[in-house]
Amino acid sequence: MGDISKNYRLNFLKEVEANVEEGEWVKMCMQCGVCSGSCPLGKFWDHPPQEIFMMIRAGKRDAVLTSNAMWMCTSCYNCIVRCPRELPITHIMHGLAHYAQRLGLAPAHQPTAKFAQLFWNNLMKKGRVNELKLGVKLYFMNGIGEGFKTSLKMKDIGLGMMKTKRMNPMEAIGGHALEDVKGFHAVMQKAQELEDQRLANQRP
């Protein structure tokens, strides 16, 4: 239970409102549980959305931010469609994931988090996703042994894709890029600066 003096205090809810995309909706949840019942993957999560929202209101900061729940969302939007209070639940879940990642609290070796990072890094290089490199990185994400095993398992599909020109082996060297990569990097750097500034001003 931890420190009960923080139980059901507003601090964490306010932190979520300030830092999480669409976080200001959390207080409007009426705990009907329709989202949890509608989630096709809910049973694989630590906490369904309804529970996450209640945990936020109960002040369970660590439990929420280290939860795997928001990383398991597949963005099927079932919950958004069904929420009688019209909460943007999917967006809140992604917002929470992003916030946890920023704070370095996301669960270690969380595959979705890892993949998201790989995707981001890949994209940032040339402004385009290099699918070949992304695929290889993904296979080797959990070590060399598993990487070779997965590669061998997938080799027929890979060859097939090359044969039908769905994949270009030359992408492994350099790969295609935006016309103005330099300009793209400048835009992204500026955006990062603005975001850092915003967060620096918001931190309680």
């Binding site: 239970m1 009960i4 003096s5 139980n7 059901y8 205090r9 507003l10 809810l13 207080k27 409007m28 009426m30 705990q31 309804q50 529970e51 209640m54 945990m55 209101r57 109960a58 209070r85 019209e86």
Partner: protein
């Protein structure tokens, strides 16, 4: 009453009657067997020329009409001749629409129609024209008991309709249980269909408006306020109530009234019974009613902890405190106002300090009333924390408090610290003693029941109305001390005619609902006073001018009628003869059914008027394979259900003969024995649901009938007949498919057990 009865008969041949039935034969039945000299046929009796035909006959002296055609429930507005007695033979819904149109059924269908003609003619002979008794004159004064919001609203509504009101308040000032309100739960919902924002314009707590209401009452010329007063005695009946209004100084004034509204509201639940929440152990645990006083005293300044005056920075509301629980001393019901009340009070803290931690621990959040769900959203918007949780204990923790509870969403036992705990306690109806408490002691069957009934009698509250009635001093109750009323259809009607209950004394409710209730009861009270002046019944036999009369020389002073009347209409004189109070009477006939010596009757409904119908039915012999089943159907639910079933084309056995009765309570056992001995093979009684969720329009009629009929088995055994021949069913007006099936089931039963041998 006309000195001589002049009969006239009419058979309508429209709506397919002439195609399906041999109308000429029916006419012969009416003249030869029904002994109505002049019977006319008309192709469409409800058309203007048909009605004119009847009017002309009335003008020429006809006093008694037999109309054969559609059901007595159809075309009531057309066949409306209050100056004559009338019986109607139900050939349309009762016969042709309930039977298939095929040659092989022709014979039984015609027999059915002929019997209904015979029955209508026989009934007519025993009907008299009901005339107003003029027992009371118009008294426009309305008495309102209770000086709270409900009572004040009722008085204002009565006055606004042009009637004088007397408001009796047992306290020194008006306002009642809600006078300490700092703000009230909003009387409105959010504006609807605001583009892109259903959370804009959410309702906020409003000014209570009680002081303004008190000022309005005091300024109103038509309202007389009696403060520090109570009713020492209330006697009479609608139109002629006399109330002794007694004040604490001992002065008594007697006023006469046309009708009474009881708006005694509620008493706050006694939280001393909640030691688990530390109530009484620390001043920092308060009830919702006490918090309201704190807020009113603070008047906008920050709310402080009562124990040490520290400004409250965290507060927890415990919903359903001592409510919705079967535990001894708790209220088993939901008081229906406390969720919105707690949201309102949480907003007091949020308005002061948006950072105040306000947690509402609820099990089911219910927000009935005008603001409804919008007010819940308003609370959430302001960051009140709503947690589905069940509190188990409140303990002191240093200067503050710790609330232990189970979070039902997170499924864990947890706790939270706060400065102040508010218990959302409920409403206890402020009612007088249960008038039947003594009867419950007398009639208890086991020693345990007797003891429980006696305990209830001992803790009974003082009387509010002090009625001078044979059946006790106050309004009868249904459950938990709330006034009994027909919850769905006639919410303000109580079991004492002309006395209407409004507000939380009837069921728990919030202020806005109580005000709406008061307006409804005020209208009903005015209607009752006006009806009494015309000697006419109020609901459900609105306008009925007949009233029970009894033959004193035959009466055995058995007191059954005075005890069983569901409405306490009958008093007793010194010799224990019944004294009927016509305007208290609802004309259900329960007294008539109760009377073992059959001396009670109405002008237009009597033991004979039904008995003659039963005797008029032509009973084929034992070997004809044509049984006869008597159906005594409640005219409020069962009879219309059968009519509607026929309209829907649902088939009924041709062997039934249906007699509508005012209420199953009016059924005399003599009808049962007489019909059995005259050769009926089965009897089906159809009344309304009679348990706690009763549907009986006369509240107890159906239950009393069931009780009486439980003893009918002896009669059957004496006659050497099978007990299956008599059944009692509860039928709702919606039972279209079921009601005919029940009759068909009886036909099947008789086919199995055989015909009655009492056919002569």
């Amino acid at each position: 009453m006309a000195a001589e009865k002049k009969f006239a008969g009419y058979i309508c041949t429209g709506c397919g009657i002439s195609e399906r039935l041999n109308v000429n034969q029916l006419q012969t039945v009416a003249t030869r067997e029904g002994k109505i000299a002049e019977v006319k046929q008309h192709a469409r009796l409800c058309a203007p020329d048909g009605v004119q035909l009847i009017r002309d006959d009335i003008a020429a002296g006809a006093t008694h009409l037999m109309i054969a055609g559609c059901s007595r429930r159809s075309k009531m507005e057309v066949f409306n001749f209050p100056q004559v007695a009338m019986s109607r033979a139900n050939l349309r819904e009762g016969v042709i629409w309930a039977r298939p149109n095929a040659p092989e059924h022709q014979e039984t269908t015609q027999e059915m129609a002929a019997d209904y003609i015979r029955m209508a003619c026989a009934e007519l002979k025993y009907l008299n024209i009901a005339s107003p008794s003029a027992e009371q004159k118009l008294n426009k004064n309305i008495l309102v008991v209770g000086g709270g919001v409900t009572g004040m609203t009722a008085a204002l509504e009565v006055a606004a309709a042009g009637y004088p009101a007397h408001l009796v308040c047992d306290e020194g000032e008006l306002g009642g249980a809600w006078k300490d309100l700092y703000k009230r739960v909003p009387f409105r919902a959010a504006a609807s269909e605001v583009p892109n924002g259903r959370d804009v314009d959410l309702p906020l707590p409003e000014e209570p408006g009680i002081a303004e209401m008190i000022a309005q009452v005091q300024a109103n010329q038509r309202i007389t306020v009696h403060l520090n007063a109570h009713l020492a005695k209330t006697s009479g009946a609608p139109g002629r109530f006399a109330a002794d209004i007694c004040n604490t100084a001992g002065a008594t004034v007697t006023e006469n009234f046309g009708a009474i509204i009881q708006a005694s509201d509620f008493k706050p639940y006694d939280a001393q019974q909640l030691p688990e929440f530390a109530y009484g152990k620390t001043p920092d645990v308060v009830t919702n009613f006490e918090l309201e006083r704190l807020a009113k005293a603070a008047n906008g300044a920050p709310l402080k902890r009562p124990s040490d005056g520290k400004v409250v920075e965290s507060v927890t509301f415990i919903q359903c405190a001592g409510q919705r629980s079967e535990q001894d001393g708790h209220l088993p019901y939901c008081s229906g106002f406390c969720c919105t009340e707690s949201i309102k009070q949480a907003l007091y803290f949020k308005t002061q300090n948006p950072d105040c931690d306000t947690t509402i621990l609820f099990d089911d959040l219910r927000t009935p009333g005008a603001a409804g769900e919008d007010f819940y959203r308003c609370g959430q918007q302001e960051m009140v924390t709503f947690s589905k949780g069940k509190a188990s204990a409140v303990v002191k923790n240093g200067a503050g408090l710790t609330v232990k509870f189970k979070d039902l969403i997170l499924n864990e036992d947890t706790e939270l610290n706060c400065d102040l705990v508010v218990l959302a306690t409920g409403q206890v109806p402020n009612n007088g003693p249960d008038p039947y408490a003594q009867l419950a002691v007398d009639e208890a069957e086991t020693e345990e029941e007797k003891e429980a009934a006696r305990r209830k009698l001992e803790v009974a509250p003082p009387s509010i109305l002090n009625l001078d009635y044979r059946q006790g001093t106050d309004l009868p109750q249904l459950k938990h001390g709330f006034v009994d009323s027909h919850f769905i259809c006639f919410p303000y009607e109580t079991r004492r005619t002309g006395i209407y209950a409004a507000g939380p004394v009837r069921r728990p409710m919030d202020m806005k609902q109580a005000m709406d209730d008061a307006a409804g009861a005020a209208m009903k009270a005015i209607q009752a006073a006006e009806s009494a002046a015309n000697s006419a019944a109020v609901h459900p036999r609105v306008g009925d001018l007949s009233y029970p009369k009894f033959r004193k020389e035959g009466c055995t002073q058995c007191k059954r009628c005075t005890v069983e009347c569901p409405f306490g209409a009958i008093n007793e004189d010194e010799q224990k003869y019944p004294v009927f109070n016509e305007s208290r009477c609802r004309r259900c006939g329960t007294c008539m059914g109760a009377c073992p010596v059959r001396v009670i009757s109405f002008e237009n409904y009597s033991i004979d008027s039904v008995n003659q119908q039963i005797k008029a039915v032509d009973i084929p012999d034992e070997f004809s394979e044509k049984p006869r089943i008597l159906v005594l159907a409640c005219e409020n639910d069962a009879y219309p259900a059968l009519d509607m079933a026929a309209q829907a084309g649902i088939e009924t056995t041709p062997f039934v003969r249906v007699v509508p009765v005012r209420c199953l309570g009016s059924v005399s056992l003599s009808w049962i024995t007489d019909s059995l001995s005259s050769g009926f093979d089965g009897i089906v009684l159809m009344g309304c649901r009679r348990d706690e969720d009763y549907q009986c329009h006369f509240v107890r009629g159906s239950a009393i009938a069931a009780e009486r009929l439980s003893k009918v088995g002896d009669t059957l055994t004496q006659l050497n007949l099978e007990p299956e021949r008599i059944v009692v069913h509860e039928v709702a007006i919606t039972d279209l498919a079921r009601a005919p099936r029940l009759l068909n089931d009886m036909a099947a039963t008789i086919e199995k057990i055989g015909m009655s041998s009492f056919k002569f």
